[in-house]
Symmetry: none
Subunit: 207 residues, 4 copies
DNA sequence: CTATAACCGAGACGGTACGTCAGGTCTTCGC
DNA sequence: GCGAAGACCTGACGTACCGTCTCGGTTATAG
């Protein structure tokens, strides 16, 4: 079947490009909430209608703009040792989210609180891929027996991302190398103590 | 020391009451972002200026309104067993955050992304007390040796709250009794596997 | 030269029409000061911005609305006799200014006291044309020798309008047919008496 | 009948003084419309209630403040010649109305357009006395036969004040010595020309 | 010489309108 | 026939004053 191009002028990829670029630039200057569609249109040299035609709201534009810059840099560590891999991975994720660009993540989460449709899109297009990267490392470690393979994969991922995201959004704790180390170490070994009760608690893996 | 009351008419506690009540009611109907100061003022039978005079923005009003309902119901479980206590506590926290009222929490976190001053206030007035409740349970368990008392208390708290908050905000996973169970269980025992490597990893507490 | 129409949507003449009509109607109900831009916008089914975009303040809108109704009814009397013409003209002017619509004149004069820009516009667009009508009658009479053609035309016009406007604004004297008669009669003959001194005063036209 | 002083604290003349002084000062800075009761109260170091207690609106305060400065300087010229007296009188009135303080007159006239009660008060307390001063000069001249004593006194006064007030409010003509001269001269001799028709018109006083 | 008024300053209050801003839609014209 | 330009309606913003209503406190007359 041939691609039947509709008559008339085609969607201008230049415009799309300009819109995303302008949005990205604005996102570096101020939070998403303070950005207006008019500002994007003006900076991109584009009519507001053109934006509304292709995106439901500025949040979707921002997400597209954000994804455009993300889809390159992903290096999945594979040292053969789970703890080292996870620490490295969590550390690099932290450092990105702490960066000016990465902070936009919080804005997307914020937007997700009031726009469920956007939330779903954000989950599929941003979160899932990001989680999958960690998932790959987990899978390898599980296969090697370094991580309990009876655990719910999603739950483990939530333990990887949850504390970090919490610190990112509330800003009550550090997001550095040491934090990554402590998190992974604690997560691997659990918080249970050494008393009989604790031993019972941790007994699952003891003969 | 003498309480020097300022001259002039005193702040009307009736108005304050009406404002907080109206805000709370509106928060049950729609998200904070869709609530306007004018709507609050109108519903409370109050002038807009009265609101702007005492609160910097509607988010602060909402926080006060929210806190007013929170400062009652807190029951700290104390069964003598860490796992049971934590599961119960996490479960009740989850069920609150999943409730119509509790969902406001997400809105506050959203607001915190663009208003750092509000973020600080939210942390102090809402998060810290909430975390402290969990902290009490942790302390007891640490004293009993059920939880490793060498761990950073804040980190453990982030592991308690992080995964739950993540699910709350993204909505990708359940927040029910089973989830609470799984989370606490995993957190206590860690995710490390049974291989030598894993044993090394978890070896800290093994002779 | 080609009329270069700017791009984009054109100014809506329907909105303009609606705004002026609504304003006119409101002016019949209450004084300009009690009219709000919001009321005009609401009654015209128009956004406030549309009003602010094209007029600096409600006074300018009111002036436009007022002028729209004025630019029809002007009949310049020409009986061939100055006194008759002037009495008729002054009488009709009086009766208009005394009418509900005409009372708006006072409001414009009031507005002129605090907005010099408006004052200038009001002078050019309203006062000058109105004075010119009287000027035409004066010119004819001067040509016929019925009125001293050495007099400053502007001064004579001020004598025609001044007393009437004063009574209109202060409301201390009548504005009826008899008043018009008395005013014109007095103006034509002067107030000087019959004594030698007066004769000297009025002697200019006596041999 | 005895003056029954009511019980309780008496009206503070200091406050009244302060209010009027502050108002007068503000009136020199900006038009009445731009002055707020709050500004007066603040500048006078007085509560708003004290102002509202004694005056219905700021216009009344302003009128009182204005009258306080007026009730001194009145010199009624009496050279024995009507034209000279009138020119001098009109000239001095003009120069006052053109002064910064005198311009307030226009604001009072403006206020009168929308507050009929104020209009009445302004007429009685300000206009009437001012007109009476001119009336005195007219009476003398009428007695001397220099001015036609069959004329309506009020009408003549309107011819004295009308043109000047018109120029004051619209600003389309000068208000100086020359203008005063021209006005009085024209008023005394009338505007009628020299043709038979004009003579008929002016014939009243010619045998 | 105490009690009772009426006044006063301060300032919070319920309102109304302000003039601005951005959202999202609609219309015109140029490419 | 798409898309820039831009005018439109809507609704909320945060501010300014309005005129009223407490407050705590200060005179002044009356008993």
């Amino acid at each position: 079947m041939t691609e039947l191009k509709s008559r008339g002028r085609q969607r201008s990829s230049e415009s799309e490009e300009a819109i995303l670029t302008a949005t990205l630039q604005l996102l570096k200057e101020k939070p998403l909430r303070d950005i207006t569609v008019e500002a994007i249109a003006s900076k991109a040299g584009v009519g507001k209608m053109t934006i509304y035609k292709w995106w439901p709201s500025k949040a979707y534009v921002a997400l597209d703009a954000f994804l455009k810059t993300m889809n390159k840099m992903v290096v999945i560590p594979d040292t053969g040792e789970a703890e080292r891999d996870l620490v490295e991975l969590l550390g690099s994720i932290m450092s990105f989210y702490s960066s000016p660009t990465g902070r936009i993540f919080g804005q997307f989460l914020a937007e997700s609180q009031t726009d469920r449709e956007f939330a779903a899109l954000f989950l599929e297009r941003f979160m899932r891929p990001r989680r999958e990267v960690v998932g790959v490392v987990l899978d390898r470690a599980m296969k090697r027996g370094e991580i309990d393979d009876t655990l719910d994969r999603e739950l483990v991922l939530d333990f990887m991302f949850g504390p970090m995201v919490l610190r990112l959004m509330i800003g009550h704790g550090p997001l550095n190398k040491a934090a990554a180390n402590a998190m992974i170490s604690t997560l691997l070994r659990g918080i249970g103590g050494t008393t009989p009760k604790a031993r019972r608690a941790s007994g699952r893996r003891l003969p």
